[in-house]
Amino acid sequence: MNTIHKSSGATDTSRREVICRGFRSAAGLLTADYLLAADHLLARGLADQTRPDKVPGRVGAKVKARSVIQVFLWGGMSYIDTWDPKPAAGYNYMGTLSAVIPTNVPGVQIGGLFPKLAEQADKFSLIRGMTHRNNGHETAAYLMQTGHTPGERLAYPSVGAVFSLFKSPEHKGVIPPYVVLTRSHGRFSEEGFLGPRFTPPPPPPQGVIARGITDDRQKARRKLLTGLNTMGHAMAARQELANTEEAKKQAYEATAAFTWPAAGP
């Protein structure tokens, strides 16, 4: 699997990098579970494609989806340039991207931009018979994610939250049945009227590594924080503060796996 999540940002670190650098050791930490879950889901999704029962020639073998990855493009590529070209409609309709290529499934053609995907058309399904006649990004996205037109009295749950509702009873493990990467999409990825039990957890936080903060400085300022925690010391017995101190300890355990080299020359 490629390191496709590798980010070039100056301020964060890819999930893969986090895992390679030993984040797994922070067992039980929700954030870590979350990061692992992300890679696990992706890895599993790719692995499924190479499973013997998915290879052509074994059509009819029982295949059951164990997880679903929904990639939602907020106003993605035009369907006529990609998955559903209309070559017979001519240039006025197709424009410059009018080339189509046959796929390894007889009778199915896709846009000429996808020669590699054309070789694997037996491994995916295309739905070409659906439209919603709604040309606003937000209203259409709401319709697609919830199955309801906006403006009804209730805020409806997204499809993932509905999945969570039905799968929660049989679901085991600390990772919720429904997670959203790489950031929340507000109403389009939320639980609506189902309530907070079905809220997808927030996407992975930043801050596992504080870029530019050396290990020595990290230690020094943590000591400073303890030294200045006057109220916290005075009220150490309060359960509210004990809970937050525990969460802070776990956060620091997550960062402890990392050291940032001393400031360069």
Binding site: P203, P205, A220
Partner: protein
């Protein structure tokens, strides 16, 4: 085509009474008037309990979403008194808030006085509560002199909340993405990549802001989780505010003596002067920090990460 004749509409209130709405009548106004009549006991009880919950961290009926016959209030005399007061004051919420915040109960210290299990339900001391997501980021922005840009994709065209508008003033629950701005300019205008914007897109969600999909109080989640600490302690979102915020720069570059700088900083972040011990700890950090400018962000970093700042107390 002549405009269709608008017929008067029959509407039914939740208590079963019906009313005829004239075509020029806004049904929301009619409903609001019905809501605040003394013969509607449900609203009075619910709003009294909620205001108390907002101010004192726990409803007289606990949880505030769970008002029913067999979930009695912890203090029914208190609840009845507050209901009477709200009705007597003509549902003036400002007057009602004043009544509560000027009470001895509200003004109790947060230092626990009793070890009795019944203390919490009887409001024996002021409860500790983490600042709500919006209040927290607004307070950090106020101290550092920075802003965040909030946007909503609903409805199109995308909404950009003006930079001088705080997070607590955002009316729309769908606005959940604070994109980073440096000092009022948009991320794009300052040349910061979209990638960087996305990194800080989660603050309000991370700290439990309600999506307002329902009217339930429990949609807001103020439970402390490690990811919140990672953001507060280590994120570049907060670190940048501390290093580059003009608010802090003004304090540290003011030409004041170091001990006066520490006084101003404490007054700005914690609204009090430092204790003798704290003064010594800070002075020692200022002496030993290398490079020295680190102290100018590390000391406010420690103060905004203290429970005294993060918690209402």
């Amino acid at each position: 085509m002549p405009p269709a004749r608008i017929e008067p509409q029959i509407a039914v209130f939740p208590d079963g009474t019906t009313i005829t709405l004239a075509p020029n009548q806004d049904p929301r106004e009619v409903f609001a008037d019905w809501l605040i009549t003394p013969r509607n006991p449900w609203f009075t009880r619910s709003i009294v309990n909620r205001v108390w919950y907002w101010l004192l961290g726990r409803g007289i009926i606990h949880e505030p979403d769970d008002i029913r016959e067999d979930n009695p209030p912890s203090n029914s005399e208190l609840l009845a008194y507050l209901e009477q007061e709200l009705v007597a004051g003509g549902y003036d919420l400002k007057r009602f808030y004043r009544l509560i915040v000027s009470s001895n109960t509200y003004q109790l210290s947060s230092m626990p006085r009793f070890n009795d299990p019944r203390a919490e339900a009887n409001f024996a001391s002021y409860p500790l509560r983490r600042l709500d997501a919006e209040v927290l980021i607004d307070a950090i922005n106020k101290i550092t002199g920075t802003t965040d840009l909030y946007t909503s994709p609903i409805p199109e065209p995308f909404t950009y909340i003006p930079a001088d508008k705080p997070a607590i003033a955002i009316a729309d629950g769908s606005i959940t993405s604070p994109f980073l701005t440096l000092f009022g300019r948009s991320a794009r205008a300052t040349g910061i990549s979209d990638l960087f914007s996305r990194i800080v897109a989660v603050f309000l969600t991370l700290f439990g802001r309600s999506a307002r999909a329902t009217g339930m109080e429990n949609e807001r989640n103020n439970k402390p989780v490690p990811a919140q600490w990672l953001h507060m302690l280590n994120s570049s979102h907060i670190q940048r505010k501390l290093e580059q915020g003009p608010g802090l720069k003004a304090i540290f570059d003011s030409g004041r003596r170091p001990d006066e700088i520490v006084n101003v900083l404490y007054l700005t972040v914690l609204s009090r002067l430092p204790t003798h011990e704290e003064r010594k700890t800070v002075a020692e950090y200022m002496r030993s920090a290398r490079p020295r400018r680190n102290a100018a962000s590390d000391i406010p970093w420690a103060l905004i990460n203290s429970p005294e700042f993060l918690y209402r107390h």
